[in-house]
Symmetry: C2
Subunit: 134 residues, 2 copies
């Protein structure tokens, strides 16, 4: 599996904008957990781990967050800078997030409950699991 | 059932703040749908309906949103103005939301897929269903 960037549904009228996602449509799983990161100093890089089983779905609900991913073969960067865009990060993909703007806020929905043993926090461990021979 | 306002988990350090919720802990259900409302002119009131079956969980991910609820007996107002606070609105509660600040953004997680027949959009219908005899 690889990361997938999606433009989510958007309804716009004079009362504002409404963006939405739904399982079995454009949301790849039903989240059992969410977290939101905010009040982050500009330029701070957070994340820096992969998951063994947990899927994540990332939305920049305010500001802009550069998301770097590495699936062991391909490294890529994608800028999340609008609430109607979502990035699905499947398991076994390394990810880091750089908070680009003042008051950037990142919402993450997760397919699994919090479990510290699901984290791969050492990049060498990740590379030996996923990467090409060095 | 009635509305419940919860202070969610919050982890704060020099890299910023992280707030989270999880089903079977402080999130009352596993959402299968989300929507987010933004770019709303200040003072706009949105919502104005109840649901027959759908639970909703509201978080002001930015700015401040005044949420008015009516369960047929009690009308109340609660100001959502921080990302680490969530409001659970169960079925058969009428709700309206007033966007108080510039760039106020409301995230709603929902327990059910979108179904127009789940909406009660007429307040008289709602009152005859829930309210005291008039």
């Amino acid at each position: 599996m690889t990361t997938v960037l999606s433009d989510m549904n958007l309804v716009s009228d004079e009362r504002g904008k409404l963006t939405f996602g739904e399982e079995h449509a454009n949301l790849p799983f039903a989240p059992v957990r969410y977290f939101m990161v905010y009040d982050v100093p500009i330029g701070t890089v957070r994340g820096g781990h992969a998951h063994k089983a947990c899927h994540q779905f990332l939305i920049a609900v305010a500001g802009s967050v550069m998301v770097m991913t590495d699936d062991g073969v391909t490294r890529s960067e994608v800028l999340l800078d609008r609430p109607d865009r979502g990035l699905h990060i499947p398991p076994l993909v390394w990810s880091e997030q750089r908070y680009e703007g003042a008051d950037s806020r990142l919402l993450v929905m997760a397919s699994e409950r919090y479990d510290e043993s699901d984290y791969i926090r050492d990049h060498d461990d990740f590379r030996s699991l996923r990467g090409p021979a060095r």
